[in-house]
Amino acid sequence: MNPEMAAIHEKVKEESVFVDKLTAEIGKVIVGQRYLIERLLIAMLTNGHILIEGVPGLAKTLAVKTLAKAIRARFQRIQFTPDLLPADLMGTMIYNQKEGTFFPKKGPLFSNLILADEINRAPAKAQSALLEAMQEHQVTIGDTTFPLEEPFMVLATQNPIEQEGTYPLPEAQIDRFMLKLHVTYPNKKEEREIMERMAGSAPREPDTVIAPADIIRARDVVNRIYVDEKIKNYIVDIVFATREPETYKIDVGKYIEYGASPRASIYLTQAARAYAFLRHRGHVTPDDVKAIGMDVLRHRVIITYEAEADELTSEDIIRKIFDEVEVP
């Protein structure tokens, strides 16, 4: 192995030691949900944001809260409601009577981990305030722009059951989320463990494993993880197959209204790198791309009415694409 590559591999092994400790610490509080925890780490390591769809009571809040404690980060949960205003998120200018000046009162966005609960319950005005902060990592109050503290990650949740009185996120806004996760119910064994662990006694508090600065450092290592040309081509093939499935002889063209945007290629590469990091590898394999591909693409492939009529979801289409596009 050439020295540069060897150095990356060594660095990844060295820096990713915390991953197992962190996972174990979160596992003390959360039963199961390995999929969710892994994706939370991926988003945190790649400066991304997550949209979570799942029924209530699946420990989404607890997972984020636990992660925040384990990395000694500040956590804020914001319940989105129809009367939520941008100022409720960002903060506002308050008049200081004594000094006769205005000073900024920072809102809950000034935290590391934000849980935007039921984001689709707030109108577009509040949604866009949050999404702007997500994109720019800064908030402007009055005339002053304040950078947000790193790591800054937003987890927005959507309840897939209740649609009445909601403001669905536009496709362009959804595209800003790096991953969209479908959190499912725990299995029988996990359910039993949850019952035994949570019923009666208060949940355990996790120990702090790393500091936010370690996350920032790990991000730098993640960005250096080697992605071979073959893998890059594979990612481009996957994304292009969502736009031009006929080119890849995949018979799903009539089911796709819009394919994935270029953000998909960027995020897929970054997420695959982070996935490799979690497995202490200094290079990306097609397995990494496949493992994270669904979460990156499911909200970026817009299906047609024909697909809905045939009871197909974007996940079915993406699965077909991953099955058909040749692995390098």
Binding site: M1, M5, Y226, D228, K230, G282, P286, K290, V325, P328
Partner: protein, 339 residues
């Protein structure tokens, strides 16, 4: 052989001849001629339309004023002679009077008694005769003959009345008898079909003769080439043996790409399903699910993992690793071939 074909053709022609008869629409030349009808003496007969007899055998006037109309009844048969089976027969009865069209109303008569005929349709109409300037109420009976031989159209009673109801009457059209002749032959059609059949027979004979000629002239079959009896395993082993070229030329990554493809190809053949599009981890999972021999599974996995490291991690394997990987896969495939 040719003589036989011609004989067959002639026989077909003779056999098909009675089957071609002319359809009614193909006989416009007989339309309008005098029918070969018979009628008892003293009764109204169907005659040529130019000088028809009166049909007032039983004209009744309820009031003397009606005599001024000079009502009469006539019948015509079209065609008027040589009616063949299959011809459309039109039997027309006309009641005419001196006056205007609307002055007298004629009831549609009951259908006549028919023998060897089938009534298809009755068409009523009214008109003014351009020659005599008489008003005419006309009923056309469209009929078909049922079989060749004697036919009969029974008498028809027609009743009429003045429009204002002040007078009425009736008259009887006498029966018609005529002969239906056998169907006509359509010589033109017979000729065309016969020619077509003849052409088909000649073509068939030519093809048959050609095939016979080719079979007769075909050289004796050469001894069958040695069939490709190599199994998929042997083909993969064959490809493995040619892979050293990559190593000689220093194309290490191509060598491992090919090695991974062959390993996946072997597993696809071995498992009877396409595994080439799966990743290394997916293959491992699939083999676990299929209870593939754990020892061999681990060896395959090690080979594929090495391939991945070379392909995707920039790993530069040693010469012995190259040789070892190649040998491992070959041994694995050979063992499976024996099994």
């Amino acid at each position: 052989m040719k003589i036989k074909s011609w004989a067959l053709c002639a026989m077909m022609f003779i056999l098909l001849l009675p089957c071609f008869s002319q359809k009614p629409e193909d006989n416009p030349d007989v339309f309008g001629k005098t029918a070969g009808a018979e009628s008892p003496e003293g009764e109204t007969d169907a005659k040529e339309s130019a000088s028809p007899d009166k049909g007032e055998a039983r004209v009744i006037y309820s009031k003397p004023e009606m005599e001024r109309f000079a009502i009469k009844g006539e019948s015509f048969l079209i065609p008027q002679e040589k009616i063949h089976l299959g011809d459309e027969i039109r039997y027309i009865i006309q009641l005419s009077w001196e006056g205007k069209l609307g002055e007298i109303e004629v009831d549609e008569p009951d259908p006549p008694l028919l023998n060897n005929l089938k009534l298809m349709k009755v068409i009523p109409s009214n008109k003014i005769s351009p020659e005599t300037n008489r008003a005419i109420a006309e009923f056309t009976y469209l009929m078909n003959g049922l079989e060749k031989g004697k036919s009969y159209v029974g008498m028809i009673d027609a009743s009429y009345r003045l429009k204002d109801g002040s007078g009425q009457g009736s008259l009887r059209i006498k029966e018609q008898r005529f002969e239906i002749l056998p169907r006509r032959h359509n010589w033109k059609r017979i000729g065309l079909v016969s020619l077509s059949v003849l052409g088909i027979l000649v073509a068939t004979a030519a093809i048959g003769y050609g095939a016979f000629y080719l079979i007769k002239r075909r050289p004796a079959p050469a001894p069958a080439a040695e069939a490709d009896v190599s199994s998929p395993y042997e083909r993969i082993i064959g490809e493995l043996s040619s892979m050293k070229l990559f190593l000689i030329e220093g194309e290490i990554r191509d060598f491992y790409s090919k090695l991974a493809k062959l390993a996946k190809g072997f597993l696809s053949v071995n498992q009877g399903e396409e595994l080439a599009k799966l990743t290394t981890e997916e293959i491992l999972q699939a083999l676990q699910e299929k209870n593939f021999n754990p020892e061999q599974r681990d060896r395959i996995f090690a080979i594929l993992e090495l391939c991945d490291r070379v392909k995707f991690a920039g790993y530069v394997p040693t010469h012995s690793e190259n040789e070892q990987a190649l040998k491992e896969l070959e041994v694995l495939i050979r063992n499976h071939r024996k099994m």
